[in-house]
Structure formats: structure tokens, C-alpha cells
Symmetry: C2
Subunit: 561 residues, 2 copies
């Protein structure tokens, strides 16, 4: 028997990086290490001091990304009991769009002493929401000029994305813009660090930065219309060439070989996005299914044979997930976060006491109480926009709604209404896909929520009327997906695979248990969903922009001192 | 100096009766006694057993009303150190519409053994909400026939009122309807018991039972159109004659003189409504002011020189509050009740802990936190319909709304938004009055809320832009008002007064401190109020009847078993 081969997948999350050592043969995880980011999410003050950040800001320190490799790889290898020499490839995935400004040699501006106290010199994390005015301008100019990317992104380009964040730098800190030689996704920056090659991936470029296979970027005229100084951004700060998912970016540099113990020259895969690598890790490599990465938010991904303009998609990218297919991305900007908010701010002390008496956690107690309710029993209906709406309205300025409270409404009823609201949000997305011919016949789920919340999973099945299958490695799909891509980058000759489809056949699996919809409950939810849609359209499509006006009034009042 | 004279005011509330012994000279309370109703609010099971009550039901036991007099009067006299002989009159006020079916001799049906287990034989408390279908029918028939009472009640007759409750009996328990010789407000029933005279008051008849001075009731044709067996209701179960407020119904019977120690023949005033007697007790006897009786709900009363059709008024009654003036009534069906709901169901354990650390009650702690927020700072806006909307939409099927929640929304922000929502509800009423020429230039407040919640009072002043003056006897206005009416029934010859205006000049007073609106906050609230109005009209005027459909769906699901 040949000596067993391993691949390493590194998943860069919001709070930490996770390194997994995975058997190339069958996808089993042999060991792992989690490295929390020392500076976490920077949303109040920069590590080195400086001005107080505005409430919508969210930054990171790129040094934390390097620490994940340096500390995490040796630890994960030790935990797995695997010799570094058995590792044939390294793959990474990242949150996105999480870009940073760098010098021509790859040095982040925030690592240079003269820029350390300037917030715009740091990494802008995906959930940095302060670039809404810039996103509005991009959408306005894009719509006026009939730019193709407007179609690609379902009608709206998000404030979370690459060029919104770059334009914010130009608007608010033009000196930082000038000093930026390369504006780059952290997904590509980390690969550059590991290999010495600045080779960028098609996934982040396609989903976050207006790039399309065969067509490239919008014209210099478009960028000039955005801002005169952006005319030449493509070809200077942002390159024109992008590399397919699963391809080899290069070999590990001797310096990183030293730090990690891995062999110099080990295949390093081109970068990728955390949600997108999870799709093949859920076994999905063909059209007909939708994968939901469920955690604080939900990312929805589906595959189709051809281009298709679905309303409010976050992205429509050829080869964006699986080579040869179009990848469609949608999302809900808060799901688990809403429940977290509710547990923190909405669960009364009486429930906490009752849970304690039954020796249950508050979460388990509330879930048990809420599970006893029938659909429509609470009389409460919500819009799940506590953090805006990513799909299908693509509007960060929308906010949460609850309708139907009476003096008899209980905390468990509100909790169930919140869960149902997030399920309606997903159904809205599924229906938008189906309406445009991107078939969604079955759902796949991975992430933290499916494991923690069975009631939620059943409600999602009942609301959508679709079966939900669960990834075998529920919590660790992205790391597995990155490891699978590493195996492809290494190639079958080295003990890996020739394609991601092949890798999925060997390395990915689903659980035996799945959630199946109940017809009676689905029938009741059909009624409630129509009510959800009415409120969704009323508050979300301009009939009453009260949410935006409340935000604007709040801003004025707070500035009024 | 003449021997000092006293009057007794008895205020029948929702949970208890309050007996006050008051100095006729200056309105000072010399002593009082509170007698809780042994059976309280009957909303689950009848005292003697029988079927489980539906959720919208609320009944009472008339025996409890008698106990208030029998136990309360002697106790209050003892507490005041007043000899019974010094009492020149007794006045009463009641919740309304709180009617009961009785035999021709005044015996309530529920006191007869054969009816004791039939819910419809008992007193229907004002907040019994199960007669909505009957109210709908009354409004439909009334509108089709162009009946005058539709105008009197601002366009809608409430499910809480007299004929809705009577029609419910006829619909659901026709045998009880047949056995009913007299259908009578508890306000009039208690006076009948004390004097042996069935003399009914113009206030409950005018505000709750379609009666109008000089015009009487709707025609037999109207009642036949409601239900064939109701054709002759007026003149049989409901008499045609009504007596002005402050008039002497009769003298105390020897039997009640025995029970209470008062002299037989002591003047007993005609019945009245708790909110309405509070108006002169707040010193208000002229147009231009609105009185708010603020507790679990708010009752709004204003005076005008002439008839006027104001949208959504609960009632427009000539001589209904002060003789010679038109009395206009409006209301909010839940105010303090909403905060009570929130403290029970919405305040997180973390707030409870923080309050304990600061050695404050949760309510005081939250009020302190909420008071630090500026108007519009929370970004949250609500509709105060947790118990439906009494004015100006007159629709019990409406429910609560909250809009604008984000992941950063706190419990104190929601609390403040709830307070603001109730203030917007009052402003909506004030504006409806002003729009039709019933001037409201200043507010007067009494009841439990003004004493307990200073933040609320300031927000009401800031939202409405009006000064709010407080009754001197904040919590006991109705008992004082009843005592004032008792003094009028006794007359000046006996040591009382010749009119309620005169009685108010001597017996009523306001506090030195008043709440004055802040111009800057009022400006911000003007913006928020426009948003409130948009939502109010959208959810309340038929653009989206989601609240009704949610209630209907809930009913179907719960009946589905």
C-alpha cells in the first residue's frame, strides 16, 4: 500500500482561522487547529490607537492571517499525527469581500508605521458597512450606463463589496488611495504571501469585483464616471488576469516551509471564498440543489448550466463555484445573529428562571416551548432584516419588523416568529431562483446552525416545502472544501484529484438523516408566506421607506449633538 | 361654625371598589377603604364551575359590587373618623359598558341557581371582547340604514358596548335573552340596589347604548334588522327614560342604611362612568382642555359647546359629562398594559441583573436608561395596538407593530419606542379633535400612570406639544368625582352644591408642577409622528389587513385541532 497522502485546508472566518489536516483518500479530518485572531474584529479602535471608528466599521489586522498559518499548521499536523512530508497540497478560503490596500511588494499599508493610525489603511472585513453611499453611487452610475455588472449582481452592487470599499477609501482618505499599489482580497493576499505569486482567483473577482470570464472588468469610462482618479484602476491597483478555482498558484516558499515544517514547493491552491468551497464539500457539483451555509448569516449557492438574471442575486459567475457551471449566490445578512440578539435582548428573566428550574439552557428551553406551537398559532409575523436585506432586495438600510403582538404574546412566540421570518427570507430567495429557471429541488445545509437548532431546520423544510440534507462535516465544510481544492491543485499524479467533481465523489458526504417537509404545516406556511411577501414588498420596494427615514433621522439627531 | 358635612364617592374599578369619605367643603379626602372583588375578573372559569371561558371573555360577579358598599362604607367612615350622620350624599361611578341581565325585581340572572353555570348570565365586564361579530353586524346594519348613532360614535360602535354584548347573548344563549327582563349597566344596577329605584343615567346610555337626549334610541326597525327578536327591546328590557348626571336617584333604603350605618334617605346620586366623573375632579368644566385618565388604558374626554362628528370618537353625548356641554370621548385600549406586557415578556435577564446591581427596580432602571435616549435615537417605531385600537380606528382586531430593529437595538430602546407609540396614539386623537373644531389646547392627566412614570408624561408633552397639568388627587379622581356628584345630588341646602361647576370650584384642584413640551424634541417627534401616521393608516385603514388575516388564520389553525 502506498503511503497515505494528506491535504491541508485553511478556512479564514470572521473571528479565527481553522486549519484542517484531511485524508486525500476519503476526506476524513485527521486533525485540526483553531487560531483566534489576536485583534479579532476591529470595530471600535485600531490596535495602535487612533480615532474612534464609526458604528458601521469593521476592520481586521492582516498579521492575524499570517499567524493562522504559522501557528495553526504545525499544531494541526501534530494533532493529526501526520508527518509534514505526507502533505501534498494547501488550500485556503476566506470571508469576502475582505480587501486591503498594499504596496507593490505585498506589504499591507497598515503594517507601515506611517499609516498605522489611519483606519482606511487596514483590512476592511466583509461586514464593514460604511460604504453604502459609495455603493449607491456605483449602482446609480452603473444603471445610468447600463453596465453589465448590474445584471450580474441581480440589480444591485453591495456596500460590502470590493469597489464600494475602494471608492470609500478614495472618498474619505485619498492619500491612502494614492499610496495603494495593489488593492487585493485577503483571499489572494494570503496566497501571495505563501507562494510569492500574486495570482488572484476568479471567485472573489467574479462575485465581488465586477469581473467576468471573457469580458473582464467594466470600462475605464465607467470608473472615470465613478471618480476621475479611478479611470486607470484596472491594470494598476487591480490586475486584469484571474485564475480558475482549484488551480495551482505556486509552491510554498522556503520561508513558509521553514515556519510550518511543510516541504518547500508544496502545491498551494489559488484562493477561494468560504461559502463557495463549501458547495462541493456538501457533495453538490450539479444543478438542481441549493447549498445553505447557515450561521450568523446564511449564504445560498446554486448551480446552473447557463447564465440567468435572478432578482437580487449577490452574484452570477461563470465557473464561480464549479468549473463548467454558472454559480449563483444569494444571502441573508442576519440569521443566527438575530437569535443571538434575541437571547441577549429579548428573553425575559421569567424564562431564564423557568429554564433553570428544568435544568435546561435558555436556548433549549425556548426551542422546546417554541416547538410546541403550531404554525400561525402565535399570530406574530416578522421581517428578518435586523442587519438589512442582502437578497433579494440588496439593501443594508432595511431593518427588522414584528407585526401581530397582543398582550398575550409570549417570548417563545416571538422567538418562533423570528425563526419563521428567516425561513421566509430563504423561501423568497428559492422562489426567485425557480422563477428564473434556476431549479432548486432540494436544499443542502452546513454551518453551525443546523447542528444547534433542529426546530429551525424543520421550520425551514416546512416553509420551503423542500427536503434539507445535511453535510457530514456540518461545521467544517469550508476547511474540507479548501482541502478538496488543495487535492485538485496537487493533481492525481501526486495523490490528489484531477477535478473538483472527482474530489467531491471521494472526499465529501451527507448525513443519513435529513429534514423533510410536513404537508399540513407547509400548507399553513403558504398563507403566512403570502403575508410575509406583502410586508416584504411594502417595506422593501419603496412603498414606504420608513426604515430609511428612521435611520436618516437618527443620524441627524445624533449629529445634532 | 356649622358642623362639617361629608360626601361619599364610590369608584367601581376593574379589580376592586374604592370608597372615599370626602369633605364637601374643599374636596379633601378624610378616609377611604378599598374592597377587592372576591371573584375579580372572571376570565377562565365561573365561580360555581361550568365551561371553560373563551380567551376574549371577561365577566364579573355582581355580589362583589354589593360587598364594596357593605364592607367599604363602614371601614371608610372609621378611617375618616366621621360620624355617619355627617354624610349628606353618596355617589358612584363604574367601569362601562359593564352590563348584566336581571329579572324585573333587579335580581341578576347569575344569582339564580338555574343560571349560575351559564356564562351569559353573568356581568360582562367592559373588557369582554367576545362580541366583535355582533359589533360588526351592528355597524353594518347601522351604516346601511344611515343610523344616527354611527355618527355619534365616530363611525364605529364598539364590541365592548351595551348592544354588542346584548346581541351576543341573543346569538349564543337565546334562552338567557328570553329570561332577561332588564338588561342594565352595573352603574345603574348598583343605584337601583341602594335606592330601590331603577333610574338610569344619561352618561352610560349616551356613550355606550345609542341613546341621545331628545332623540332617544334607534327605531324598532333598526333593532329588528339586527335580529327579529330585538324589535321590541326598547321599552321592555331597556327603558326609555334617563336621568341627568348629578341628579338625585332616591334615598338610601332602610336595608342599606342598616348595613352601612348611614341614615336612611341619604341622597344617592344617579350612576356615572369612572372616566367621566374624573373630568370635573381634574377641575375641567369648560371647552379647550382634554382630560386623560391614564392607567392600563387611557380614556380621553373633551368638552365642546356643540355637536361635532370627530372621526373614531367613542362617543359624542350632549350633557354626557358636564350639563350644558357636549362631551366627547376617545380612548386607547392598552397603555399601561403594554408596559406591563413588556416588563413581563420583553425585559432581558441582563437588565434585571443590572437593575439589581444598582439597587433599582427594573422599571426604574429601564426608565432611567430610556430617559437618556433622544427622540429618534433608537430608530425603532411602534404602533400601540397590543389590545386593538379604540380611537380613532375603533377596531379590536388590530395588533401591535414594531419597525426598525437592528442587531444593536436594546431593551430600553424598545421600551422607549413603546412609550412613544402610546404618545403618538394620543396625538392622533388630539389631532382628530382639533381637525373638527373641538379645541384641545391643554391636557389634564389623572390615574396611576402619571405618578409612576415621569418619562412617559414628558414624552406625552413633547409628542403632543401641549402642557399637561396633573390632578391634585391623581390616583383618586373618580372617587372624588363621584363624591362631587353626591354633593350636587344632596344640594346646597343640605351643605352640598347646586351644580357640578360649583362643586368643581370648591372641591377640585391641580398640582403646581406641570409637564411642558420641549420645542426641540417636539420638532423631532413631528417627523416621527408622520411615520407613525403612515403605518397607522396602512395597517389600520384596509391597505393591508394582515393583522386580521393572522388572527383568522390562528383561529383556523387552533380549531383544526
Amino acid at each position: 500500500m502506498k503511503k497515505e497522502k494528506f491535504v491541508i485546508g485553511i478556512d479564514y472566518g470572521t473571528e479565527s482561522g481553522r486549519v484542517a489536516v484531511v485524508r486525500a483518500r476519503n476526506g476524513e479530518e485527521a486533525g485540526n487547529a483553531i487560531v483566534p485572531y489576536a485583534d479579532g474584529v476591529i470595530d471600535e479602535k485600531l490596535p495602535g490607537g487612533g480615532p474612534r471608528l464609526e458604528p458601521d466599521w469593521a476592520l481586521q489586522n492582516p498579521r492575524d492571517y499570517l499567524q493562522v498559518v504559522e501557528k495553526g499548521v504545525p499544531r494541526a499536523l501534530r494533532a493529526a499525527g501526520v508527518k509534514p512530508g505526507a502533505v501534498i497540497g494547501v488550500g485556503t478560503d476566506f470571508t469576502a469581500s475582505t480587501p486591503l490596500p498594499a504596496k507593490a511588494d505585498g506589504t499591507p499599508l497598515c503594517m507601515l508605521p506611517r499609516f498605522r493610525k489611519i483606519p482606511h489603511a487596514w483590512v476592511k472585513l466583509w461586514k464593514h458597512h460604511a460604504a453604502q453611499p459609495e455603493a449607491n453611487r456605483i449602482n446609480q452610475v452603473g444603471a445610468e450606463r447600463g453596465e453589465e455588472f448590474i445584471r450580474t449582481y441581480g440589480g444591485r452592487y453591495s456596500s460590502e463589496w470590493f469597489f464600494s470599499k475602494l471608492l470609500q477609501i478614495l472618498d474619505e482618505a485619498p492619500e491612502i488611495y494614492e499610496e495603494t499599489d495593489r488593492f487585493i482580497e485577503a483571499a489572494d493576499w494570503i496566497v501571495w504571501q505563501l507562494t510569492g505569486e500574486e495570482k488572484r482567483n476568479t471567485c472573489t473577482a467574479g462575485y465581488k469585483a465586477m469581473w467576468a470570464k471573457g469580458r473582464g472588468f467594466p470600462s475605464p469610462e465607467f470608473f472615470r464616471a465613478l471618480h476621475p482618479r479611478m479611470e486607470d484602476v484596472i491594470g494598476t491597483k487591480v490586475p486584469e488576469e484571474y485564475y480558475p478555482l482549484g488551480s495551482r498558484a505556486g509552491g510554498l516558499t522556503p520561508e513558509w516551509a521553514d515556519k510550518t515544517g511543510l516541504a518547500a514547493g508544496t502545491a498551494v491552491c489559488i484562493g477561494n471564498v468560504d461559502a463557495h468551497v463549501a458547495v462541493p464539500a456538501c457533495t453538490v457539483t450539479q444543478p438542481g440543489a441549493m447549498v445553505m451555509i447557515m450561521g450568523t448569516s446564511i449564504c445560498h449557492l446554486a448551480l446552473g448550466p447557463a447564465r440567468c438574471a435572478v432578482e437580487g442575486m449577490c452574484g452570477t459567475v461563470e465557473d464561480g463555484v464549479i468549473p463548467g457551471l454558472w454559480g449563483f449566490e444569494a444571502g441573508q445578512s442576519a440569521v443566527g445573529d438575530i437569535f443571538g440578539w434575541f437571547f441577549e435582548n429579548g428573553v425575559p428573566a421569567s424564562v431564564e428562571r423557568a429554564a433553570r428550574e428544568q435544568k435546561m439552557s435558555v436556548k433549549d428551553f425556548l426551542e422546546k416551548q417554541a416547538a410546541r406551537l403550531r404554525p400561525a398559532e402565535s399570530g406574530v409575523l416578522g421581517l428578518d432584516w435586523w442587519n438589512g436585506n442582502r437578497s433579494i432586495l440588496v439593501d443594508a438600510d432595511l431593518t427588522g419588523v414584528l407585526v401581530g403582538m397582543s398582550l398575550a404574546t409570549t417570548a417563545q412566540e416571538v422567538y418562533r416568529a423570528l425563526i419563521e421570518a428567516t425561513a421566509f427570507g430563504t423561501r423568497q430567495i428559492v422562489e426567485a431562483f425557480n422563477a428564473r429557471g434556476v431549479a432548486v429541488n432540494v436544499l443542502y445545509a452546513c454551518g453551525g446552525l443546523p447542528e444547534r437548532n433542529q426546530l429551525l431546520m424543520q421550520i425551514f423544510a416546512d416553509v420551503t416545502g423542500l427536503e434539507i440534507r445535511l453535510a457530514k462535516q456540518l461545521m467544517t465544510c469550508p476547511a474540507l472544501g479548501s482541502a478538496m481544492h488543495a487535492a485538485v491543485a496537487a493533481g492525481s499524479q501526486a495523490g490528489g484529484y484531477d477535478s473538483i467533481v472527482q474530489a467531491a465523489q471521494h472526499m465529501a458526504a451527507v448525513q443519513k438523516h435529513s429534514y423533510k417537509p410536513n404537508a399540513q404545516r407547509h400548507g399553513v406556511y403558504n398563507h403566512l408566506f403570502r403575508e410575509y411577501q406583502l410586508l416584504h414588498d411594502y417595506f422593501g420596494r419603496g412603498a414606504n421607506d420608513v426604515m430609511k427615514r428612521l435611520k436618516e433621522l437618527r443620524k441627524q439627531v445624533m449629529q445634532g449633538g
